[in-house]
C-alpha cells in the first residue's frame, strides 16, 4: 500500500529522471559513434595508426569513471553539476569502445569487394560511404549495443555528483533507508537498456536486408 502510494507520488519525478537518463546515455552514444567512425577509418586505412589508436582508446576505457566525472569540470571549465560533464565522459567511453569496432568492421569487408569498388572508379570517400560502411554495419551495430548498455549503467554514477537521472533513485533510497526507489531505479535502467538495445537491433536490421538473404531459403 505504502509502496504504491510512493510510486504514484513520485511517478512524475521518475519520468523526469528516466528522460534525463535517456538523453544522458543516448547523446554520448551518438557523439561517440560520430567520432569513432573517422578514427576507426584512420586506424584501418593507415596501418601504422591501428595500434596507437586502438591501444590508446582502450586505455581511455580504463580511466575510472568517477575520477573522470570529477576531473572533467576542471579540464572543460564547466560547473561540477553541469550534465555536460557526464556527456563528455560517456562520449570518451563510447569512443574507446567503438574505435576498435569500427576499424575491425572495416577490415572485415572482403578484399575483393574493396578492390572492385576501387576498380570501378569509386573515390576514397564514395567507397567508404557507399561500400565499406554499409558492409560493416553488422559489426558496428554489435559494438553499439555493448556501448549503449555500458552508457546506461555509467550514467547512474552521475547521481554521486548530484546530476538528476535514474541513479538519483539509488542515492535517494540509500538516504531514506528504503529499498523501493532503488528497485524502481534498477527496473527503469533495465527497461531503458532493453529499449535501446532493441532500437539498435531494429535499425541494424533495417540497414542490412542483405544479411537476412544470406541464410539460404
Amino acid at each position: 500500500m505504502i509502496a504504491l502510494r510512493w510510486l504514484s507520488d513520485n511517478a512524475g519525478v521518475m519520468a523526469e529522471y528516466f528522460l534525463a537518463h535517456v538523453w544522458l546515455s543516448v547523446l554520448p552514444l551518438l557523439l561517440g559513434l560520430v567520432l569513432a567512425l573517422p578514427l576507426g577509418w584512420a586506424a584501418h586505412h593507415f596501418g601504422f595508426l591501428y595500434r596507437p589508436l586502438v591501444a590508446g582508446s582502450a586505455l581511455l576505457y580504463t580511466l575510472p569513471s568517477l575520477a573522470l566525472f570529477v576531473l572533467l569540470p576542471q579540464v572543460l571549465g564547466t560547473r561540477m553539476l553541469d550534465p555536460v560533464n557526464i556527456v563528455c565522459a560517456l562520449t570518451v567511453y563510447t569512443v574507446a569502445l567503438l574505435v576498435r569496432v569500427v576499424a575491425d568492421g572495416l577490415a572485415a569487408v572482403p578484399e575483393d569487394t574493396v578492390r572492385a569498388a576501387d576498380a570501378m572508379g569509386y573515390t576514397a570517400v564514395q567507397r567508404w560511404a557507399a561500400v565499406e560502411l554499409p558492409v560493416a554495419v553488422p559489426v558496428i551495430a554489435a559494438g553499439l549495443r555493448v556501448a549503449s548498455v555500458s552508457n546506461v549503467s555509467l550514467v547512474s554514477l552521475g547521481a554521486l555528483l548530484g546530476i538528476p537521472q535514474l541513479g538519483s533513485l539509488f542515492t535517494l533510497g540509500f538516504q531514506l533507508g528504503y529499498l523501493l526507489p532503488i528497485a524502481a531505479g534498477i527496473v527503469l535502467c533495465l527497461l531503458l537498456a532493453w529499449l535501446l538495445d532493441g532500437l539498435i537491433l531494429a535499425a541494424a536490421r533495417l540497414l542490412t536486408p542483405w544479411k537476412r538473404a544470406e541464410t539460404p531459403a
Binding site: D118, A119, M120, G121, T123, V135
Partner: protein, 399 residues
Amino acid sequence: MIRFDQVTKAYPDGTVAVDGLDLTAPTGRTTVLVGPSGCGKTTSLRMVNRLIEPSSGTVLLDGRDTAGLDTAELRRGIGYVIQNAGLFPHRTVADNIASVPRLLGWTRRRARDRALELLELVGLPASYAGRYPAQLSGGQQQRVGVARALAADPPVMLMDEPFSAVDPVVRARLQEEFLALQREIGKTILFVTHDIAEAVTLGDRIAVLRVGGHLAQFAEPHELLTRPVDDFVADFVGRDRGYRALDFAAPAALEVREEPAVRLGATLEQARAAARDGWALVVSDENRPLGWIDVGAAAPGTAGTDPVGHGHLLLGGTTARRSGGLRELLDAALSSPSGRGAVTDDAGALTGTVTPEDVVRAITAARAEDAAAGAGRETGPGATAAGGDRNRAAAEGTA
C-alpha cells in the same frame, strides 16, 4: 587499343614484377596474358586501370597516356572482372550492375533499365534483379560480375581470372558464353589466366609471361601451340599441345558417314536390324544422339519386341559438331564405344558418324594445307592458320 610501352614494375624490396613489357592489345579483340604465378600477369593488368602504378614506362589507352588521366574517371571507363566477382554483398543484383552508371550520374531509372538489359545479356532471368549476391551460385555471381563490368558500355575490359573459381562444368559454359558475347560486343579485352587451355580457347592473341615479368612469346593460339619459341613456352603450353592445336584446323576434307540410328523406344529387333558391327546409335525424337546400344549384350532375358530404354544405353561417347574443330571430332571418335563418333549439326541433330581413321586422314590433309599456307605466314602478318576458323567446341554432350 591498350599499349604497354617499356612498362616496368619494381618494388622497394627489389622484386621486379614486370620487366620492360612491350605489348599491344588490339581494339575489339581478346588478348590473354598467361603464365605461372609470379610472372606479373595480374600486376600488368592492374597497371592498365592504375590499381598499381608502373615504376617506369607508359600504358596507353587508345594512344592516351593513362598516367595523365584522373584515376576515378579512367576506371569508370574500363570494365573490370575479378576471380570471385567481388560483388557488393549489400546491394541487390540490379544495384550491383547499376554501380558504375550511378557513379557516372545516370538517373536511377535509366541505370535500372540498363541493369535489366544486361541481366538478360548474361543469361540471367529478370527475377534475379532483386536478389542479393549471397543468394546466387558462384557461376551466377560471375555472370553478374561480367554484367556489372559491361554496365556503362566501356570500350575496354580487364578480366583477372574470372572463371578460375567455378567448377569445370560451369567454367566451360561461361567460357562458351564469353566467346558468344564477345562476338556480339567486340570489346578490347585484356584477360589474365594461369590456364593455358583457357588462354587458347578464349584468346585472339596470347602473351606468355615468365617469372620475373618477361614476355616470352606473343602470338596467336595456333602459332603458340605449333611453334613455341623456346623450352619455357613449350613446357608451359604443355604435353597435349599437338592435340589441342587440332582446334585450329578446320576439318575441310572430312567425310561424315551415314549412320542408321534408331529412336529411343524402338524395339530391340529394330535396333538389331540397324546395327553395324554390333552397335546401334540411339537418338531422341529430336534426332539428338543419346547413346549406343550393344545389340549382342542387350539380349539376355529380353524379348526382341521390348522397347529400347535409357537403361540399354552406353553413354561414354562425346558428340562433335560438324563445324567444330578436329579435336572435337577426334574425341568423339575415340570416346565412342562403337568406334564411330556421332557428328551433329550446330543444333545438335545427328548428321552421321566418323571413325578415328577418318579424322586422322583429315588431320593429315589439314597439315598439308597448313604447310602450304605456312610459307605465306612467314612473310605476311595477316595470314592465319589454314582454315583458321575459330569455331570451337565448348559444350560436348555425351552420346
